[in-house]
């Protein structure tokens, strides 16, 4: 691969990690999907589900647990896969710029004719592309398993599920990149993005349980990504809102990064 730009190099840098994550996400989907036929045929499943508290039934989309999409929404797309995409996005977002500044390789990069804005934007593009790539892997493996096991999901449903997960990774990855650009510390970038993600998840859960919190639920990225199941029959504005929030965070960080002292 020719390293002809910062964008190209950021893809090159992430290639090994991307391969590993793709393998992990793919295997996870295969293993979990493979268990679906036995869950579907479980006698007394409906009674079992009905015994769960109503809030948990809603939180993990248990009402539709017997269907292929419902099962995957509950077992994978409500907690495990979102968490993986968050870790992937935040880890890469924090490493791309703050990591490079801590390693002191950023000095030479910023002594070329490339502006700081361009360095940041090309790295952001590299981040978005790999997260979308991981979303594609998730989508394709889910589609294949759905077909193989006859899970009865449409292509559109699965694509919407993959998109919601990728949007989550992009949003918090861009937040980590932005915080890293503004502060220059990888640990700070990871801490801030993770804290925001946890706050969003807490809001999502509390909104189900506490009536007074419910009006505020909508601002949680997890509501935008997970509400009524990521694998869903219709489009929602959720992913667009999430990506937009990430882009806004990045835009705010540009002037800060341009004015800041590097590596001090």
């Amino acid at each position: 691969m020719k390293l002809s730009s910062i964008f190209a190099k950021s893809l090159f840098d992430q290639r090994r990690s991307f391969a590993g994550w793709s393998l992990g996400v793919g295997l996870l989907v295969i293993v979990m999907a493979a268990m679906w036929p036995s869950v579907r045929d479980m006698p007394g499943l409906d009674t079992f589900v009905q015994n769960y508290p109503a809030a948990l039934r809603k939180l993990f989309n248990l009402e539709t647990f017997r269907t292929g999409s419902g099962y995957l929404n509950t077992e994978l797309f409500s907690l495990m896969v979102p968490a993986l995409f968050l870790v992937f996005g935040i880890g890469h977002g924090a490493r791309l710029l703050a990591g490079e500044e801590e390693d002191r390789t950023l000095d030479v990069l910023l002594s070329t004719r490339c502006s700081r804005r361009r360095v940041l934007l090309e790295k952001a593009a590299g981040l978005v592309v790999v997260v979308i790539g991981l979303g594609l892997v998730l989508t394709v493996v889910t589609l294949i398993m759905g077909l193989v096991l006859g899970m009865g999901m449409t292509v559109g449903e699965v694509v919407r599920g993959g998109l919601a997960m990728a949007a989550l990774g992009i949003e918090f990855g861009l937040v980590a990149l932005a915080v890293g650009a503004a502060r220059g510390r990888r640990a700070v970038a990871i801490a801030v993005a993770t804290a925001l993600a946890i706050a969003g998840y807490v809001l999502y859960v509390l909104g189900q349980l506490i009536h007074a919190v419910e009006p505020w639920r909508g601002i949680s990225p997890f509501v935008q990504a997970l509400d009524r199941g990521p694998i869903r029959p219709s489009w929602s504005a959720g992913p667009a809102v999430m990506i937009l929030c990430g882009v806004v965070a990045l835009a705010i960080s540009i002037p800060v990064f341009e004015r800041r002292d590097i590596g001090s």
Binding site: L3, S5, R104, D107, V108, L109, R113, C114, S115
Partner: protein, 294 residues
């Protein structure tokens, strides 16, 4: 070419650079000297626009180092102090990457520099020794034939042969009209190539002189072992001799400037052995401030 006025940088309560007025003439080689921690690297980072001055101005090519950062960078080659590399890239990949980012690298320029430094670019940078990494840093700084080279401790880690190659490279750059600013914490590293030397101490530029003037003040530690008795009184009378200590047939002393007279006086007493070492920068600075005590 490089011009700062009242350039000041504070980090919290620490004053790293203190009202610095620096002028580097076009086409000259400027040796930027100072003990470790004197503010050399901070000054260089201010010039590169990596950091912003707390007060004062820094200009390169008549352009402001912060506002016109990218415009200046097109014509600057920079080697950071403690040059860091991407360990997972090979030398060839790294140099190709920077060639793409920098632009303006003539065909064959990288290869020429790689040959000059006998560098193996097929190896991953993470596996290279410190000296070889430094060579990669020098190649990337010189490869686009910039008008201004800013080199922070360029010879650190290089063996004497490569230091010589480096000096040739600097001389060639000057011959084609480039300006070079290089920093060091030892005078010996720059005295062969610099036209002018500026000495920084505690963030202040305390001396700017051409090299000839500086050498007149340069102090050396000399240890002379005599075959016969030490001509103590004669040595004491030599201009520039300080701190004469005699033990047995060995005289230890510090001499400022030329050693010509010292040896003329010492030779008749039968010199058996001479060991001379360069004085540290702090001692040179001391030489500027203290009267000779004879």
């Amino acid at each position: 070419m490089v011009r700062t006025r009242g350039l000041t940088k504070r980090f919290g309560a620490t004053l790293a650079v203190d009202r610095l007025d620096l002028d580097v003439a076009p086409g000259s080689v400027f040796g930027f000297l100072g003990p470790n921690g004197a503010g050399k690297t901070t000054t260089i980072r201010l010039l590169l626009g990596l950091q912003r001055p707390s007060e004062g101005t820094a200009e390169i090519f008549g352009l402001d180092c912060t506002r016109a950062r990218e415009q200046i960078h097109r014509h600057v080659g920079y080697l950071p102090g403690d040059f860091a590399v991407y360990p997972h890239l090979t030398g060839a990949q790294y140099l190709a990457f920077l060639t793409a980012l920098r632009g303006g690298v003539a065909p064959g320029a990288v290869e020429g520099l790689v040959d000059r430094f006998e560098l193996d670019v097929t190896r991953h940078l993470g596996t290279l020794s410190r000296g070889n990494r430094q060579k990669v840093g020098l190649v990337q700084a010189f490869m686009h034939e910039p008008e201004l080279l800013v080199l922070d401790e360029p010879t650190s880690g290089l063996d004497p042969l490569m230091q010589q190659r480096f000096r040739e490279l600097v001389a060639a750059a000057r011959d084609r009209g480039a300006t070079v600013l290089l920093s060091s914490h030892v005078l010996g590293e720059v005295e062969e190539i610099a036209d002018t030397v500026g000495i920084l101490r505690a963030g202040r530029l305390v001396i700017v002189e051409n090299l000839e003037q500086l050498k007149e003040h340069a102090r050396r530690h000399v240890e002379i072992t005599f075959a016969r008795e030490v001509p103590t009184e004669n040595l004491r009378r030599v201009v520039g001799v300080h701190e004469l200590v005699v033990t047995g047939r060995t005289a230890r002393l510090v001499v400022a400037g030329s050693m010509d007279e010292l040896f003329r006086v010492a030779a008749p007493a039968g010199v058996e052995n001479v060991v001379a070492s360069e004085a540290s920068l702090e001692e040179i600075l001391l030489g500027y401030y203290s009267e000779p005590n004879r």
